[in-house]
Subunit: 311 residues, 2 copies
């Protein structure tokens, strides 16, 4: 056994077994990161689904059982539920354990979870920038975090050794790691993730409501661009509701800028200002190239779906 | 040679050899639809690029030579150039020939091209709902139209036989065909394609302009959703400028609805109305499922890019 494949933790407790939680379990197993993975499930039904997928060594309806003796406890439910869950499991945490999460917002997580973390337990919030539009334990897979970024937002005064452990953990799950201030994280994610999701949900809703175009027409002709938005707009509703409710300030700020810019484009169309349109459309191409160069997306046309070029 | 593989046309002239023009040439060759394909090129440089790709039997800097004796003439340049080009080639069209196009707007095409089409020549505007974010002759491939829709918008009084010929043509290129009123086409495409492109261009521009988030951060963390938008926002700037300038009315109408809906979402976030968010996010999932069921997109998570689930 190489140093790199030695279990980092004796027991890891996953609170939540959806896309992210189950992918973490698969990736931990792949990397040999945990000797035992326990999962907290809210109902018999969820337990059966999780059992079928078979990624946890033990599944518990009792959160105290799930976290008992765990070296690492991972909150992986919608962020709106974190505070309540942290309050529930806090009394059963082992001294020296690390509490972390995978939420897409970080200021609210520090606010909601921080106060419940007992003396002698470390708190290192985290956000893996990875996911798909699918949800539930069946959607998870070990490669989800490969080549993606994971952002850690430890509150001031966090034990540097705990932060180092979490860096190692995410690197061995396949990710690159960055440390960031929670407030800055929230504005970065507002533009790279939250507002894009909001406008995708919004355009799909607008299309559904139009009286002049039938839903069957929208579906038939969606290959013109619309279908890309529907993928994002198929993401988990509870998770995304909680993201918007818990990153209000940053989302509204970025949304204000988006709307201002859109008004300028609207005006350019109304007044036939072709140069303004052309200049923006040229500038945005360069950003796509940078994203491909940075390995954050495929260069294949249409994301590589469908047929390949003949030449 | 089966009836289905008999050339439908003796000579087809492609005016424009970008993604769509070159893909048509490849698809025509695959289906044996034309005995001879001629291409009109604007410069020696374009001719050299087109020659390298090798899809036309002859390439011409003189538009009269390109269309001479052609049974079918296809406008496949940005729609803003159609009127001028039609005026140029009109005197050289063969009696009984069909003029068509591949433009993403149709009312403006009928307005700009219609008046130049001589007596005894048929005019059947068309719009294949297919494309990628790439452009130029090198980007073309034979399968681009497979399983996609092509919309024909013949003006009132068009010879039904010419419309039938164009239906057969597009079916043999791999597409399903629909006939539609140009004005209705333009509003359908405004919601399924034009406004989605506009908001994708817009969010990428907004991201590029934010002072609080660096461009390198936007690129690094783009996997959270933003990268999907950058693909669309990498589409050909000239083509898209012309689309917006030539579908102003429908685009502004749909954009008005989009902005109204977005304001409602903004308000829901500001006032913490989780139910309004949850309800929209649930409704939009169903539309994604319908698009996949209709064969208009892949069901694979993240469009199938990156790794596959382990189970």
């Amino acid at each position: 056994m190489t140093a790199d494949s030695k279990p980092l933790f004796t027991k890891v407790a996953l609170i939540g077994i959806g896309l992210i939680g189950s992918s973490m379990a698969h990736a931990m197993r792949r990397a040999g990161l945990a000797a035992h993975i326990s999962g907290y499930v809210r109902s018999e039904e969820t337990r059966d689904r999780a059992k079928k997928v078979g990624f946890a060594n033990s599944l518990h309806l009792d959160i105290a059982e799930a976290v008992r003796d765990a070296d690492l406890v991972v909150l992986a439910t919608p962020v709106g539920s974190y505070g309540e869950l942290a309050k529930e499991f806090a009394p059963f945490l082992k001294q020296g354990a690390i509490v972390t999460d995978v939420g897409s917002v970080k200021t609210a997580v520090v606010r909601d979870v921080g106060p419940h973390v007992p003396e002698g337990v470390h708190f290192v919030p985290a956000h893996p920038i990875a996911g798909t539009e699918q949800s539930g334990p069946e959607a998870g897979f070990a490669e989800l975090f490969d080549g993606r970024w994971c952002i850690l937002t430890p509150p001031p005064g966090t034990d540097p050794a705990a932060v180092e452990t979490m860096k190692t953990f995410w690197r061995r799950l396949g990710s690159d790691v960055e440390v960031m201030d929670p407030k800055h994280h929230d504005i970065v994610l507002a533009i790279t993730s939250h507002v894009p999701h909001l406008i995708a949900y919004n355009i799909v809703g607008t299309a559904d409501d139009l009286e002049t175009v039938t839903q069957s027409e929208v579906i038939k002709y969606s290959a013109g661009g619309f279908r890309d938005f529907t993928r994002i707009a198929a993401s988990d509703p509870t998770m995304w509701r909680d993201v918007f409710l818990n990153n209000r300030e940053a989302v509204l700020e970025v949304l204000g800028r988006f709307s201002e810019d859109l008004s300028a484009l609207q005006r350019a169309i109304r007044w036939g200002d072709g140069d303004a349109l052309f200049n923006l459309f040229t500038r945005t191409r360069a950003i796509r190239r940078s994203i491909i160069d940075a390995g954050q997306d495929t260069a294949a046309p249409n994301f590589g779906r469908g047929k390949k070029p003949t030449q």
